[in-house]
């Protein structure tokens, strides 16, 4: 219900702002681009297909786009397949037949939407992929370099634990769902780094299905098995909170060096502050959301019949530790909605 009210409220605000914007232009100032810019935005239809709007990063994207839509006067629709790939495909197929000006797709994995994205492009519907890129190229992609993030983390572990640097070289990795792209790209980076550093020993490489409680039971077994573990490699903070809990239970906080990555939501910063994560690569959704809005702005300004060369924006990440943490390192959904 609340969401419905939000949407209605949002629409009302959009209308209000749109009106004022129009008035402002009438009386306002045209610097030679601004009028053209506003006109290219106004009345356009953008449809967003998230993985699930309940997912923090998808909610972040949606909030950012909504703010933009409200201010520039284009229409934003959200079709939420709620983790169901089949419904996602269904939604995109349906959207293609509606011919909107732009579809923003948050890919579930590299495969699932590849075909329909291609179909959309062939049907002349522009597609902006976000977060994870499908195997097929589209108008644009705004995303995260999963390989680089994981590589950064793995290298950090090497730096901390390598016998060359005085460690014992024993580390463990905790995977999510093996087939998930962030997982296998990340694990590829991890394995590549480990191959380059034969002095490291990977004592355990288990999957926990992105489930914190499974992560907890796996990690508590592993750390009891190898009490002298030097570091633990994590791929997503949502799962790694279970890992951190298990390590704390075993009394090894501070002894096992935990690297993790995530969207940098406020809970992550709390965990960095309390020492759960020793090193954290943050792909800040606030920033990613801004990139998405930039890409939307670029695409909407181009004429609909123009063939755009695919372009991409990859996010610059932040490496967070207890010491580098600032009050603005993390974000909350409310902040994005309010436009910080």
């Amino acid at each position: 219900m609340r969401k419905l009210i939000n949407i209605i409220g949002g629409a009302a605000i959009a209308l209000g702002i749109g009106m004022t914007a129009v008035k402002a232009q009438d009386a306002g100032f045209d610097d030679g681009m601004s009028t053209k810019f506003y006109e290219s935005m106004k009345g356009k239809k953008v449809v967003f297909v998230p993985i699930s709007i309940g997912m923090d990063i998808a909610a972040g994207f949606a909030a950012g786009m909504q703010r933009m839509a409200d201010q520039y006067g284009f229409q934003l629709q959200i079709r939420d397949p709620n983790w169901n790939v089949d419904q996602g495909v269904q939604a995109i197929t349906q959207i293609i037949s509606e011919k909107p000006d732009l579809v923003v797709i948050q890919n579930v994995d590299m495969q699932a939407y590849a075909r329909v994205i291609k179909q959309a492009m062939e049907a002349g519907v522009r597609v902006l992929q976000v977060n994870v890129k499908a195997t097929s190229n589209s108008t644009a992609h705004v995303g995260i370099d999963w390989y680089k993030n994981a590589e950064t983390n793995a290298l950090k572990l090497v730096e901390k634990c390598s016998p060359k640097n005085g460690g014992n070289g024993k580390i463990a990795a905790l995977e999510g769902t093996p087939n998930n792209p962030t997982n296998f790209i990340g694990m590829k980076a991890f394995n590549d780094v480990m191959a380059a550093h034969p002095e490291m020993t990977v004592v355990s490489d288990q999957a926990a299905d992105w489930d914190a409680s499974k992560a907890h039971s796996v990690v508590s077994t592993v750390v009891r098995q190898s009490p002298d573990l030097c570091g633990y490699f994590g791929l997503w903070d949502g799962q790694d909170s279970g890992m951190a809990a298990a390590i704390r239970e075993a009394g090894l906080t501070g002894k096992v060096f935990v690297v993790s990555q995530g969207a940098g939501e406020k809970a992550a910063c709390e965990k960095i502050a309390d020492g759960s994560y020793d090193f954290y690569v943050s792909y800040n959704i606030r920033e990613l959301s801004k990139h998405i809005n930039d890409a939307i702005a670029v695409i909407l300004q181009r004429p609909a019949d123009e063939t755009l060369q695919p372009f991409a924006i990859y996010l610059t990440t932040q490496n967070l530790t207890k010491d580098t943490l600032t009050p603005s390192s993390c974000w909350t959904l409310d902040e994005i909605k309010r436009g910080y």
Binding site: R2, Q206, S213, V222, R224, G242, A245, A267
Partner: protein
């Protein structure tokens, strides 16, 4: 002996080969095998962690077992657990005092139990369907009405309760103690209270139970309220253990794991047979198995594969030992 005391002639005949004993034997063999081959398996720390890692599963399995013994099934148990606790965490995030949030959460859970019970007992929807449908309905309702995100972190404002599940009492992890307490209470309930006896009678033969004057419908309500309550408790322990609640477990195969534990322990799906001891045996077997596999660093997919095969083998052995025949198998008994 649990099965013998349930008083069925057939049980006594095959008592020596009851599934529970077979599973217990397998568990012991696996335990000894792992103990001999895996270094560090027998370390007290590892054994505790073994039990702890399956405690939540065990608690849920007890809730499931109670419904199955009463000739029902509660496929919505994970959904109930995840969504109620998600709401509690959501309220905590909004600044609601802990006791108030937990109380409201519990009321919600009781309502869920009553709705399921009503659907099964009064609307006469087969339990498999009622609970299957409720799984999505509970998820949908909570998402619409209460919680709008998938993953919830317990806020720091939750003070000491934040890490309740991660605590220890006399060196024993809280989840293990919680499992023990729930098991004990459930055992006492089943064996020494009237509703418990009624539920067992109902599971054995619902028609006769009804004729005998047992209020079968209210008992069904009770059964689902209890399983929902147990789910809520398990959820609280789980969430405070790891600091989060991921509502996506609703769509995971976790409920199948719970059924696996219950069935492995030798509780028959057609109801009336088995007790809490069966659940403990099933839970331990899975615990030993998972722990050993993790130590051996067997991949997650292969663990799933082996789990499935174990379940299948357990059912096959059970069917071979306690065969059903065309004349006595019940209509719609799937």
């Amino acid at each position: 002996m649990q099965t013998a005391s349930s008083g069925k002639a057939g049980d006594r005949r095959s008592a020596y080969f009851s599934q529970e004993r077979i599973v217990l034997a397998i568990a012991v063999v696996m335990f000894v095998l792992f103990g001999l081959t895996l270094p560090g398996f027998l370390a007290p720390g590892n054994l505790l962690s073994l039990v702890q890692s399956v405690s939540i599963l065990g608690i849920l399995a007890i809730g499931m077992a109670l419904t199955i013994i009463g000739r029902g099934i509660d496929l919505a148990i994970i959904s109930t657990m995840a969504m109620s606790v998600a709401w509690v965490i959501f309220m905590l995030g909004g600044g609601t005092p802990v006791w108030q949030a937990v109380l409201l959460g519990y009321l919600f859970v009781v309502c869920i139990g009553l709705v399921i019970g009503f659907l099964v007992a009064y609307a006469e929807i087969p339990a498999i369907f009622a609970t299957l449908a409720m799984t999505t309905a509970i998820y949908g309702f909570t998402r619409v009405a209460f919680v709008d995100v998938d993953l919830l972190f317990i806020p720091q404002s939750a003070s000491w309760t934040r890490e309740f599940g991660a605590g220890y009492v006399f060196g024993i992890p809280i989840p293990v103690i919680a499992f023990a307490i729930v098991a004990l209470l459930a055992h006492l309930f089943l064996r020494h209270t009237k509703p418990g006896v009624f539920i067992r009678a109902m599971g054995d033969n619902p028609l006769k139970a009804r004729i005998a004057g047992i209020p079968t419908r209210p008992m069904m309500l009770l059964q689902y309220v209890i399983s929902a309550s147990i789910a809520f408790f398990a959820g609280l322990v789980l969430a405070t253990l790891v600091g989060t609640m991921n509502t996506r477990v609703v769509n995971s195969t976790m409920v199948y794991d719970v059924i696996l534990v219950v069935v492995l322990g030798g509780i028959v799906l057609s109801g009336g047979r088995g007790g809490i001891f069966n659940v403990i045996v099933g839970t331990l077997l899975i615990g030993i198995f998972l722990n050993g596999m993790t130590i051996m660093n067997v991949s997650y997919s292969i663990q799933n594969l082996i789990k499935g095969v174990i379940l299948l083998v357990a059912i096959i052995i059970d069917t071979v030992l306690n065969p059903r025949d065309e004349q006595t198998s019940q209509q719609g008994d799937i």
